[in-house]
Structures are given as C-alpha cells and as structure tokens.
Subunit: 557 residues, 2 copies
C-alpha cells in the first residue's frame, strides 16, 4: 500500500531532491487558489468543510483523552468555539513511543512514501486549510491560502527530501573484505540500520501554524520518530486538520495512527513545559517567541532542540535609483500581515543627512515621508488594505502598538483601527511609524513585535550597517535588506550582515519582498544568531533526528 | 599554494568520499610500519625525532604563553619530562577567534586542501607519532603505530571527506527566476556563504589522543573554525606534534597559524572547565570518561557539544562451532592494550547450563575455563604478551583491578604484574577474570575500566541479551559481540542491541576483533545511548559545525 505511495510520488520526490541541490526556483504545490488547479468546487467545498468544524468537538481517536479543551478566537471576529481532545500525557506520550516500533521497522522508503501521501492530501485540502489558518492567525485569505497551504506544503516536502537524501547516504548492507596477511582475507557482512531518536514534539506558533511546523513534523516523521503535535492554543485548528490527515494515511498504510498525535492545550492550562521535558521526548522543535524558546533550549536537556524564534530585522538605505519603487516595495513588507511575520523589518536605518536618489539628493525627512506615503497609498484602498493587513492575532500586540507610540520617538504615522468590510469585528491596526535618533537604542534595539516601525537617523550608512549587524548578533535577526547603488556598500553590508547570521536581500523592488522566503532555495533562519538554532531546511535539520547503528557478521568463505 | 594542496590530494579526497558512500574496505594511509612504504630510514628517524623531544621544552610560537607546563609519565617507565606552553586563555582564545577571519574567507576548497596536506605530513611522521603515542598511552608499539598513526589519519581524512561533501551540497551562487504574473519574471542572484560556528575546542583523552581527536580537529577545521586542541595532561605529546604540523602547513599556505593552537595543562592545574565554557567557544568535542563528559554536556551550553564517552560493552555466547577459535578471538580482544579501549568487552554473558559447541554440550565452567586458558596461552609468550598488553596508562586503573578482585565474584583468573623485557619499569597487569551470577548487577552493571572481565552466568541466552541491552541503554555501550549458530538468536540479539545503540559483531573469529573499528566503514559510537552523543563519522558530525547564510540581489533584466 505505502510502497505504492512512494512510487506514486517518486517524481515529486526526485524533483524536490534536485531542487534542494540546484536551489533554483521550484515548487510542488500550486500557490494560485484557482478552481482550474484545485477543482471548480474546491473553494466552496473548503469553506463548507471549515464551517462544518465550527462550534463542534474536533474528534481525534487517540489514547489518553480526558476531556475537551480549546479557546481559539478568530482575529476576524468569527465565532469558532471548537474543542479538541484534552490529553493525559501519561497515556498519550507512551502511546506515541510504542507506536514507533512498526514505523521504525518499516524503513526509510516506506516512511517517505507515507509522508509524501500525507502532503498530497493536505494539498487537496488547501482551501479548508486557508480558512482555518485565516481565522486563527489573522492572515488575509490569499496569504492564508499560500503561506498556510502550498508554501507550507513545499516546506514540508523540502524536509522530506532532505530526510530522504540523508537516510540514503549509507547503504543498507555491504560486504567488507580486508586482506590481513599474504594469504588471509577477512570478510564481514555489515548491516546499517536507521534508529530514530525517539518521540518528537513539534511546538507550533500562533502566526504560521503550518508553515513553521511542517518542516519539523515531516523531518521527524520521515526519519522514523513518532510526532506529538503541540499547537499554539490560539491556532490549533490548522494543525488538528493536519494530524487528522496524517493519522488517516498512517492507518491506511497499516501503521499505528499514534505515530502522529495532537496535544492541544489552552492558554490558561498550558502543557508545553511538561511535555517537552518528558524523558520519552528526544526531539523538540519550537517556533514562537524568544523568551519561551530560550526556556525550551535551556530546559529540554533530554532532547535535541531545534528553534525558530524571533529577532529584530533591519533595513539599511544608502542610495536608490527610484525612491517610489523602493518605498512601495518596503511599504508592502511593512504592512503584510500587519508586521506579524518573523521576517518583517522593524528598524530602517537612513543617514540623517539624506541619501542619493538617482542624480538627486533627498533629505532624511523626504525619504521618511516617502515611506509613510507609500504605506498610506497601499492602505488607501480599503479592500486592498484589509487583504494585506489581515488582522492582529493577539490582543497584546494592540497594546504593544499603543505602548510604542507613547514610549518615545517622533510619530510619523499613527497606527489606527482599520475597517474590514467583510468582517466588521476584525481586530485591524495600520502600521505605526516612528522616527528616532541612532542614540535611542533603548527604543529600537529591542524586539517590538507587530506593525511597529522605527526609522533610525544615522550618522552614516556605515553606522546603519554596524547597528543592524549588532542587533542581529545581540537580539537575533532572520532577514535584513539593503538598498545601495554602490557595489562596495552592498558588499560591505552583505559581509557584515551575513556574518551576523541574517539573510540579506539587496535592492528589492517590484514583486519580491524581504519577508518572503522560498522553499527549496532560501534558507529560513541561519541558526547563527539568537533568532534560532536551526535552519529551514538544511542537512543539519534532519541528521540529528536519527542514528545509524550497525551490525557485522563474519562470513566464512 | 594551498590551491595546489587541494589538487595534489584530489584523488585521496575523491577516494575517501567514495569510500564513505560505499563503506567497503578502504584506507588512505598504510597500516604496516614498513620501510618499503615509509622509507628505509623512517623507523630510525622517527625514534630519533621522538628522543629529541625528551626532557626539553616543546616550543610553539603561539600568543598568550605565560609559562611552561607538563607532567607526562611514560607507562613504560621512560623519563619524558617535556614541557609545553602554558596558555593564558584570555589571550589564546581571542587570538584563535581573530585567526578565523582569513580562514573562513578562504572558502571550503582551500581549507580542505590545507587539511589534506596536514594529514599527509602527519602520515610521514607516523614513526615519531608511534613512539609519542606509545610512551603516553601505554599502547604497545605496533598498536601505537597503527591506531595512533595511519588509523587515526584515516579517521581524520574521513571527517574531511564528510565536511567536503556537506559543504558542497549547496552551490556558491545561483540565478533564481520566478514568474510572478503573465508578463513579469522576478530574477534574483543568490549567494550562499559558509559561516563557521566559532572557536572549536577538542578535548583529547589519555588512551587514544590522536584517533579520538582527529575527526573533531579536521571536521571543525575544514568547516572554517579555529581549533584549540586541549590534550589530556597525560598524553600531550602526540597532539603537540599534530598542532606543530598543522601550524606549519597553515603558515605555508598564508594563513594565521593561530587557526590551530595548543592549550596544554596539568592534572593539578586543569583548564578544561574554564576553556569549554568560554563565550567564544562554540564547538566542543570531548572524548574521555563519562563523568567529566556528562559535565561538559551539561555545562558548555554556549556551544554544540560532541561527546565520545565510555560504557559497558557486552559479549553474549549462545552457541559456537569451534570453541577454541572463539575463545582465542575473545582473549585477544580482552588483552589488547590491557582492556583500556572504549570498545573492549567487560561483561561476557554465558548460560549457566552451558552452551552447544558443534554437536557437543559444554558446561559454563568449561566455557569459562576455555576463556581463561586462551588468555593464559596468549600471554604465555612473554614478548607477545608484552606487545599485546602494552602498559597501564593510569595508576588508578591498577587500583581498580585490585578493588574489583576483592569486591565480589569468584576470581577465575587473577591479575598479575607482567614483565616487559624491553621496559622493566613498565606498569603491566594481566586481565582479571571474575565469575558472577546474573543477580550480581551491583558488580557488573557498572563500568570498571581496565583489564577486568566478568563472566556472567545467566538463566538463558535471552536473559543475556536482555541484560546486555539494558546495560547499553543505562550505562552506554559502544560495542557488543554475539556468538550463536542459531540465525534466530543472532537476529534477536542484533535487534535488541542495535536498538540500544551498540554496534554488534557476530561470530567473530580469526583476525577481526570486536574492539576494532575501521574508518570509512564502521560507525564508531552510535550517539544513541549514554556512551556518547556523536558518531565517528557521519553527516551529523559535521553539519552542526557551520551554517549557510545567504544574500540575494534583484537582477534587473
């Protein structure tokens, strides 16, 4: 059964393996939410499926369910009231551990086949997933479809491709012959077995529940571990659907469905600390805020821990050719999903004496005004603004905007509530843009998550590069953007910022944005600064999830 | 210069890369200490070079030297009295960190070339190294030559091959093109840079200073890190020579020689704890005893930590065809280097009702007597015995033998001093062999390092397999051996013991031994039980030592 899963998806796998080597553009799952691709009824079916989930118990037939739990609230104001199985970890975790036996014995090829089929079925459900992601994270529909659906699936496939490659490096068996004297040869038959590390826990986040979890889920699964998915209590549904699909495929393929389980909790009854420190748990993948991520890194000592946390992303503007093209591009990056991406810029360093724009000189104030103007223009169309901004996932982010507005700096653009015509109760705020001097490190040299932007007036481009690199090193940074017409400045910024572990984007304009990261080509998070210790996706992301243990037998010839 | 190093050794590298994929027998450096291979004067030259080191200051021109330190004592009784630079870590560690700049920028190919040349030059010095290893570890000359020389060099080359492969996975740059609308294509030029993690510390052990350190040294070096070599105070010379050669090649190739430095200390003034917890230190490789290894794992939190510690290795005897062939093979494994290998068996599980030997039945006592007899025979020839046993590296091991003899169990073979004709002051003890019941877990279910062997009388082979697996899981185990004529027993033992993370050898007789591990084919330590968290050598051993950080630039077309 699952042998045919592998064969059925062999071309997808081969293309993915080729893509992670070439790193040119490639995608397995179409990002366009089109009926021509997903089926003419897919959109309606997906919406209906999502609506059918609402105000009901989400049933998962897994051991150790002792009650119901769940308190997701749609940032768009929709009533969700879905409950999930509340787990007794003393039952659920051992069940996961014992489910591993058959999964491990099945071998790499069979497991990879099952993973590919799970991804394939998740892809077919992309419209349902889009609504689930939209109404838990606050992403606009298009973004929820793409980032929550096909882009997340691509990231999952990428992890399967890495796992497949790394598990294929060593043969299953070999005949080893050594001449030990003029007449004697020793012959050994050696067998190499892949030994998964143990139970894996994937801790999801509230903003990208699928995109940020799929690499870990599929990397651990393909390498033979059982996976307990621990969603954020504010974004459980997308991962509950994922777990449901995974269990369905596992059971069809003849495996214990408890190879993948859900450990839901609620904000007022969290279980993550207990779960990630259990002795059976040998792998923890965490995505989310830095504070709790640091706790997991320091305390889950019985496990290998992979983290994707947060940081302070910077933009350095030195000189540009077309200011409108640059500020238009930046404005989209600042507004997209209300700055709630871990890749959104927070600090924009601009020389206080202004910059060259083509042959002209523009003052700091003119550049700042152009950025503010570009944001205003982008949000000027109510429908477009609502789609780009989405909604604010967490009430605390709204409070953070208000605190930032009064903490200091000159408010160049106030954050205001924005009306979403389709969802009048949606929690929407436009970006706050502040101007500060480079000496106000107390304000900008800290993470202020959400639609909050500092334009930092520096003495020079060099100072901006230095401050951007310093903040990456100290506070972490996932991305950085640089604008300059001077190749020397670009080279210097590339060196300083990549050395500080930030992925650098240079001179982006048009339809490509600093906060976008493409599977199979872009490495998301470097692991080389405090924003995380792992990369999505590289060999290091999968090699620690399994071991090769050998046996060798003397062959008498 | 070093470009030619890469070209000069390209075939060796290609063969090594091919070998780690095929895992059939291969070796780059000849293990036979023959003048035909190493040059007719090599043996004499090596001995003279070693003797020229004695009772002198070993000079290394590195920063932060504040005095002289060293208290190595030859287990063979030779006077060494060599002193090494005593480092001020506040100077040495920053010097290592700053030496990394040029090394990192040089790129993977250049670094790999330098590593290959270092190994090549170390190989030419194998006779000098043999004496250095012999008179610090206590290994007999032949073993010191092979394990301290070519076998260690092979392990180093294996690490370079893994590093080369992993660094080659991603292109240096690529043009990425994505169609974003019917008419628009976004084109990015992406560059991928290898970012080493930081300063690496390699903590050597007293028994295999080169074999156990070279994989770490070369894996960290090839991936762009600076390496501070921290030898065991009892076995400094082999690594000091290694550092000397590495610095010579680095300088010739135009690099800062402080990319490789020595941090020597003494037993009464240890520096390892301070060194491995310094903030600049981002990689720690530790080989040695479990207690200190556990401390390093728990405390060097600022670094990634790779450990190869100790454990309790088991043999399970179920049935054999030729008892003499089996006990002869086992006796060699028990005697070789006086049981001071991390791969030497400690516990031999034998059913108390005896075993089948061909068509005959032999009682437990007969099997035990055969093992004792085989050891007696092997050591019966004084010269052969002295060469196999070598000498006891540490006085505490002698004390441990005496403690074990009186702690409990029936002494089947007493440990006695053995005279080494060539070195009358050598510290040599023959193996102690004790008989215990399976219920005496207090005696055998603990690590007793040295020439101490328990023959454990079990109720059945199954009980023996269970106890062997349990001790591997609880205490760690690097190797296990099984003897049976029943394929079902072999399969069951293979499953139980590999699942517990021990590398299993089945039915070994003749010139192949459970405690031998061949580079390019055998994985040494699985990382899947408490005997260590890393494997020599696999992809996981190198992928954590560097990161890939990218930059991408919009290309206007």
């Amino acid at each position: 059964m699952s042998e045919s899963f592998f064969d059925r998806h062999a071309k997808t796998l081969n293309d993915a393996v080729s893509a992670i080597r070439r790193r040119t553009y490639w995608s397995a799952y179409p990002e366009v939410p089109s009926g021509k691709i997903y089926g003419e009824t897919a959109k309606g079916d997906g919406l209906a499926a999502f609506q059918g989930r609402l105000e009901r118990a989400f049933e998962i037939d897994q051991p150790g369910t002792v009650g119901r739990i769940g308190d997701e609230r749609s940032p768009f104001g929709l009533s969700l009231r879905i409950t999930y199985p509340q787990p007794d970890l003393d039952v659920l975790v051992p069940a996961a551990a014992s489910a591993m036996d058959g999964w491990r014995s099945a071998g790499a090829r069979e497991r990879v086949g099952v993973c590919l089929e799970i991804l394939h079925r998740i892809n077919k459900r992309s419209f349902e997933m889009a609504s689930a992601v939209m109404h838990t994270t606050g992403q606009g529909f298009m973004m929820a479809f793409q980032a929550g659906g096909p882009h997340a699936q691509d990231r999952g496939l990428e992890a399967v491709a890495y796992a497949h490659e790394e598990m294929s490096r060593c043969p299953d068996s070999v005949i080893w012959e050594k001449k030990v004297s003029k007449t004697d040869v020793v012959t050994l038959e050696k067998k190499f077995r892949i030994l998964p590390r143990g139970v894996a826990v994937v801790v999801g986040c509230s903003t990208f529940p699928t995109w940020n979890s799929y690499p870990a889920l599929f990397a651990s699964l393909a390498t033979g571990n059982a996976v307990i998915v621990k969603p954020h209590p504010g974004a459980t549904l997308p991962l509950a659907i994922t777990v449901e699909i995974a269990r369905e495929v596992l059971a069809e393929a003849g495996f214990d469905a408890n190879v993948v389980t859900l450990a839901a909790d609620a904000a007022d009854a969290p279980i993550t600390k207990e779960l990630v420190t259990r002795p059976e748990v040998r792998i923890v993948d965490y995505t989310g805020g830095s504070e709790f991520g640091d706790w997991v890194e320091a305390n889950a000592k019985q496990a290998v821990v992979f983290t994707e946390k947060a940081g302070v992303n910077s933009v350095v503007i030195d000189s540009v050719t077309d200011l409108k093209a640059v500020t238009g591009n930046l404005a989209f990056s600042l507004c997209l999903y209300s700055g709630q991406m871990c890749t959104t810029p927070q600090n924009i360093f601009i020389p206080k004496d202004g910059i060259d724009v083509g042959d002209e000189r523009k003052s700091f104030d003119e550049v700042a005004a152009a950025i503010v103007g570009a944001v205003d223009w982008l949000l000027g169309d109510a429908r477009r603004g609502a789609e780009i901004l989405g909604a604010i996932q967490n009430e605390r982010t709204v409070a953070r905007i208000e605190e930032a507005a009064s903490a200091g700096g000159k408010v160049l653009r106030a954050s205001t509530p924005v009306t979403n015509e389709q969802f009048p109760d949606a929690r929407v705020r436009s970006p706050l843009i502040l101007e500060v001097g480079a000496d106000r490190e107390d304000l900008y040299m800290r993470e202020v998550f959400g639609p909050i932007v500092y334009l930092v007036a520096t003495n020079s481009t060099d100072e901006g590069i230095r401050l951007a690199a310093e903040s990456a090193r100290k506070l972490g940074a996932i991305t950085a953007a640089v604008y300059s017409n001077d190749p020397g400045v670009i080279a210097s910024a590339e060196h300083a910022l990549t050395s500080a572990g930030a992925a650098v984007s240079c001179n982006l304009t048009g339809q490509i944005f600093v906060n976008q990261s493409a599977a199979f080509s872009d490495f998301h998070v470097s692991g080389a600064n405090p924003s995380g210790n792992a990369t999505l996706c590289d060999a290091a992301f999968v090699t620690g999830r399994f071991r090769v243990v050998q046996s060798r037998t003397l062959v008498n010839r």
